[in-house]
């Protein structure tokens, strides 16, 4: 490698690197830094407070509430969307009348803004004259308030998320299915294996790299996607449907407690780090990835 190559390389990388450092790496570091300070208010500047913010975090019931919610949210949305995505991909991977329509139907929610999706679903959920109540009203049931009850608000949000995400994940499975040689399944069929066995023994194992890739993305999304909460529940009732990022937003931009917001963000960063480490080990051991 020559000197000139070095300089060229550096110059080419520089602009992108500058933006990445400015808006990703540096903020990630200052997040941690600022979590050791108090929030500046009025004339009072930020002061070093050591671990005070973390102590507050541990004693903050809302923090634990949103963290648990996030866990349930991930557990409730990820396996279901992945199972649906695999089913959708298997459906669409064969030729039949109406395949174009079916594929379009599955994928369409993906291109809609999450805000728009929330608006559409809000009308299903609205007590009294929302569609769900209208339909069950026909069978003589009374009003529901799925978004207003602490027991059902989070589940109602999860349904919307699954609707939005499954079609997106389907795409990756569709791509993966097309790389599986048809001889494999044909051979199994000749041996007398039924559809379920073929899926369980051949297709599903071969889809494993995709499943891991999709799972990692889905976990990141479960932290990142909170837009619909703004429209559907606003995190309520009593934080029953609030997630970590939504709580960060509320803390930092409604109550302007940015130091505590930074502390909450550190938790998020730590969780993402755990995910990265887990992924690293899992990818290495369980999956022969190309």
């Amino acid at each position: 490698m020559t000197r000139r190559d070095w300089i060229h390389g550096w110059l080419l990388v520089l602009p992108a690197m500058a933006f990445l450092v400015l808006f990703t790496h540096l903020p990630a570091i200052t997040t941690i830094w600022n979590s050791f300070f108090s929030t500046p208010r009025g004339r009072r500047p930020a002061m070093f407070v050591g671990l005070d913010n973390y102590e507050r975090l541990l004693n903050d019931p809302i923090f634990w509430k949103v963290l648990t919610n996030n866990l349930w949210f991930a557990l409730g949305t990820i396996p279901t969307s992945i199972a649906l995505a695999i089913a959708m991909a298997l459906f669409v991977n064969r030729r039949f009348m109406g395949r174009g329509f079916v594929r379009m139907a599955y994928f369409t929610p993906t291109v809609l803004p999450l805000i728009a999706v929330a608006n559409i679903w809000l009308f299903f959920y609205t007590p009294g004259f929302g569609l769900i109540d209208q339909v069950i009203g026909l069978f003589g049931y009374g009003q529901t308030n799925l978004l207003g009850e602490p027991d059902t608000a989070l589940a109602a949000i999860m349904v919307v998320t699954i609707w939005k995400e499954a079609g997106f994940f389907m795409i990756f499975y569709l791509a993966a299915l097309q790389t599986i040689p048809p001889q494999l399944t044909e051979a199994a069929r000749i041996e007398g294996a039924n559809g379920w066995t073929i899926f369980r023994r051949i297709t599903f194992p071969l889809l494993m790299p995709t499943t891991l890739f999709v799972s990692v993305n889905a976990v990141i999304n479960s932290f990142r996607l909170v837009d619909h909460i703004f429209i559907l529940t606003g995190g309520g009732p009593d934080n029953a449907s609030s997630l970590l990022l939504f709580y960060i937003y509320e803390t930092s931009f409604r109550f302007w407690d940015t130091a505590y917001g930074a502390t909450l963000t550190v938790v998020m960063l730590a969780l993402l780090c755990l995910l990265a480490i887990g992924q690293f080990f899992f990818f290495d051991r369980k999956v022969h990835y190309k």
Binding site: G9, F23, T24, L90, L112, F172, F223, I231
Partner: protein, 269 residues
Amino acid sequence: MTSLDRWLSNAAAILLALLWVLPLIYAIWTAIHPAAYEARFVLTAPLSLENFVKAWDAAPFARYFLNTFILVTTILIGQFILCTLAAYAFARYRFPGRNILFTLVLLQLLVMPDILIVENYRMIRSLGLVDTISAIALPYIASGFGVFLIRQSFMTVPRELDDAARIEGAGALSILWRVYVPLAKPIYLAYGLVSVSHHWNNFLWPLIVTNSEETRPVTVGLSIFSTSDSGIEWSVINAATLMTSAPLLIAFLLFQRQFVQSFMRAGIK
């Protein structure tokens, strides 16, 4: 597969598809009919575009659309330029620190600007850019995902082409522009579609850094429009909702194949 199996799974596929489009069909139904037919499904219901007119008049959607358009174009152009340059360096140059820098680039796949809202806001404020369209775009201009994707495709370009151009006296940038970029066109299309739809739909960050009509993108405009307590009819809100999603939705229906392939391409590398 027996023909009964086949029939059953086709039926299941179509049933699921119908269930899946139902919310959207329903939104379209309420948007194109007068409010009285919100939950009355009779085929003879009169069609009307009145809801769209009402929505358009009730909020500055034209301005919101313009803002979003400027936003996604700025981001797309910025991403194409920065990611192409960086991808070229990572694909074809050897320089000290290359691996560390590439790891730092990939880190952004995990730690996205989406979650660093607190500190990014502080950064934007210290730059004096709060409530500008640039403020919405800046954190996304350099994309780790874009660098990675374009690098993958640059690495498949045969080195001979590169060498041939060099012998003819072409400089590094002209080789990039004449040889690499044209060969990576499908990837640019894929990445472009993914980027545009992602930033068209983005909500949280624009909500934080904008606070005026002149800068708000459609998603933020729509949320303000639909959560204001002025008793706007449902059918009008649905019309507004469809309106804001319409450009992407129509583009998707027209270029369905390219869309699906793009998302596939962007995902499987």
